[in-house]
């Protein structure tokens, strides 16, 4: 067997033992699995995976386990159910043939969650979906959360995805959002997996005309984490991508974002911030594509990193592909340490060194936290952040 076949072969048994499904889903699974076995797991020779080595995932013998997201905050007029029926016209339209993990997720489509927000619906509070995995019981689990959100024109809502768990497991999640004209959507992903977990996640957002979309990605947990956010803008679409990753110990988090300005007059703002300590590693790769048609595009990308130890490693790279001429695109990345003068200022007021460090680190993340519009999420995030910052050995 070739190395690829050797790795993917182990998944075949799980694959053939899945729950029955409608013929079109079975067909989709088979196509996806075929594509997965063809591609195999990426290696660091793939440009997209240069700094993130998934060999530990490829080597592990995972067993597929069903997962059901716990949904709360659903109003009566929002339809929620398994991915079935007319989901077919939207599902997996965004190419899974480019990414082995998306193919794998599609190959293991078992139910999933399909949310339909009818045209004009305004949802007051956030809709929250929690995926929790217990890797301490049974075999080494592999879960594949899949969500399809179809939002009609002029809808307005907030969607929170939360990922947590215990022990060792693989979460391989895919969320697709299709937004009709004029929709206003805030999406949050809080990844707070166990310290031993693997988490691979992709968000695809296909945004219609004049949509106002924001995606905030918070990455705190996990041993090996990869987040892909892909948004496609239409005419007059406004997209905001915010991210915060906080890693210590030997954690590794890779954020890849792609903003595709396909039509004119689109605006995108992107701010990703990272805090690295210990021997942790992080990657930020921000691709911005401005197609030939997309004149008057206004795009701004910023990545800032605070590196607290000598051994932590950050790789940050903007990737601008601009084919239109009348556009404004700016990007910038910084990598810095705690400011010595600020440290002294705090200490000179009686604040101890460790507390001063934590305060300044916290302050660095503050503008991302402040941009979160859901109060309860801000509160819980401040708590998680606080705990995380105090994990450092004193």
């Amino acid at each position: 067997m070739t190395p690829v076949a050797e790795q993917t072969g182990a998944w075949l048994e799980s694959f053939t033992r899945q729950h029955p499904a409608a013929p079109w889903i079975r067909q989709l699974r088979e196509e996806a699995f075929a594509r997965f076995t063809q591609m195999g797991f990426p290696t660091t020779h793939d440009e997209e995976w240069r700094f993130t080595n998934v060999a530990p995932i490829a080597r592990s013998r995972f067993q597929f386990r069903d997962i059901v997201g716990q949904v709360s905050g659903l109003p009566a007029n929002v339809q929620a159910g398994a991915i079935a029926g007319d989901a077919r016209q939207w599902l997996a339209k965004q190419a899974f043939d480019q990414n082995a993990f998306v193919a794998l997720n599609t190959a293991f489509l078992n139910g999933g969650l399909f949310l339909r927000i009818p045209r004009g619906t305004v949802v007051e509070g956030p809709i929250e979906v929690v995926y929790s995995v217990d890797g301490q019981v049974g075999n080494l689990p592999h879960v594949g959360p899949r969500m399809l959100v179809v939002a009609g024109a002029d809808t307005q809502f907030t969607l929170i995805e939360r990922y947590t768990g215990q022990g060792r497991y693989l979460t391989n999640a895919v969320t697709e959002i299709v937004a009709g004209e004029g929709a206003v959507i805030d999406h949050y992903k809080v990844q707070h997996e166990s310290g031993e977990a693997f988490h691979i996640g992709s968000l695809f957002a296909n945004l219609g005309r004049s949509v106002n979309f924001s995606a905030t990605s918070i990455a705190m947990g996990g041993a090996l984490v990869r987040n892909d956010v892909n948004v496609t803008l239409s005419e007059g679409t406004e997209a905001t991508l915010n991210g915060l990753y906080v890693v210590n110990g030997s954690q590794h988090v890779d954020n890849h974002t792609t903003i595709d300005h396909a039509k004119p007059h689109g605006t995108s703002h992107e701010l990703y911030k990272g805090i690295l300590d210990g021997k942790a590693g992080a990657v930020f790769n921000g691709r911005i594509m401005v197609r030939k048609d997309a004149q008057k595009t206004d795009s701004k990308q910023t990545n800032k990193n605070l590196v607290l130890s000598d051994e932590a490693v950050i790789n940050t790279k903007p990737e601008l592909q601009i084919f239109a001429d009348d556009v404004r695109c700016t990007h910038g990345a910084t990598i810095g340490q705690l400011d010595a003068e600020s440290m002294f200022y705090l200490q000179s007021r009686g604040i101890g060194k460790d507390d001063a460090r934590n305060l300044l680190t916290y302050a660095f993340a503050q503008d991302i936290v402040d941009r979160i519009k859901v109060q309860s999420l801000r509160d819980s995030l401040e708590r998680i952040l606080f705990e995380k910052l105090h994990e450092r050995p004193q």
């Binding site: 400011d339 010595a340 003068e341 600020s342 002294f344 200022y345 705090l346 200490q347 000179s348 007021r349 009686g350 604040i351 101890g352 060194k353 507390d355 001063a356 305060l359 300044l360 916290y362 302050a363 660095f364 993340a365 503050q366 503008d367």
Partner: protein, 258 residues
């Protein structure tokens, strides 16, 4: 017993010696002014006393409240009642002024074995001091010094001092950049805090501030040494003759008088 006793203090930054043997004794309740031209080492002295690590002390001793000051961490100096009002207060985006100051106060209280104060009690506690310095609530809720005007930053330093009630306050050019109204306000705040249990070292380039904060002693620092000491009349003499009258070169003054 003297509150602060500096003996033959030498300090360097990199290869360069900036303080070249300072001797100074400050008793409880006294206000000492330190004047001197630009670059003479005033801020260096202030920062060395507060424990800034970029300066290496190469010779000399400093005793504070009977303890070896130079062996103490900066935070412990503060907890022991030392306060430095910075010449250039640092902007810290992301931390609110109130949060910062409450953390400072609580660190000190914890050190003294007192219970911490919560956000509510803290506001109660600082209300009067806010009035004293005409600090408005909005300024308190903003991130530390971030986007403050020069005057607001200086006022914020004195406000912090008022809340922390130090035993020894070192004010580094608290007057610079203030218009006369702001200067009066700050001086009023400082004077309100004067008392037999509180000593101050007031560092200034100009004698203007000393019209409002009248010192017990005036020292002149030039090229890393205290070259002259006297009573408050020394400041007035300096005002008339300039540093040149003492045989001290002052670039800024020289330019001004050509």
């Amino acid at each position: 017993m003297a509150l602060l006793e500096i003996k033959n203090l030498h300090a360097t930054v990199g290869e360069r010696e900036i303080l070249k043997g300072i001797d100074l004794t400050v008793d409880a309740g006294e206000v000492h002014a330190i004047m001197g031209p630009n670059g003479s080492g005033k801020s260096t002295l202030a920062q060395v006393l507060a424990g800034r690590e970029v300066y290496a002390v190469t010779e000399g001793q400093v005793t504070y409240s009977g303890k070896d000051l130079l062996g103490m961490k900066p935070e412990d100096r503060a907890r022991e009642g030392m306060f430095l009002a910075f010449q250039y207060p640092v902007e810290i985006p992301g931390i609110s002024n109130t949060y910062f100051l409450r953390a400072a106060l609580n660190a000190r209280r914890k050190y003294e074995g007192l219970p911490e104060v919560d956000a509510f009690d803290f506001l109660e506690l600082v209300r009067e001091k806010m009035k004293l310095l005409e600090m408005d609530q909005a300024l308190l809720n903003r991130p530390v010094n971030t986007g403050f005007s020069g005057g607001e930053k200086k006022r914020n330093e004195i406000f912090q001092m008022a809340v922390l009630e130090p035993k020894l306050a070192i004010l580094d050019e608290t007057d610079s950049g203030l218009d006369i109204d702001a200067l009066k306000l700050v001086a009023h705040g400082v004077n309100a805090l004067r008392g037999p249990e509180r000593s101050m070292i007031v560092v200034t380039h100009y004698q203007r501030l000393l019209d409002y904060i009248v010192p017990d002693y005036v020292h002149v620092l030039a090229d890393g040494r205290l070259v002259k000491s006297g009573g408050k009349e020394l400041a007035l003499q300096l005002e008339e003759t300039g540093y040149a009258g003492l045989g001290i070169a002052d670039e800024e003054e020289a330019v001004g008088r050509v």
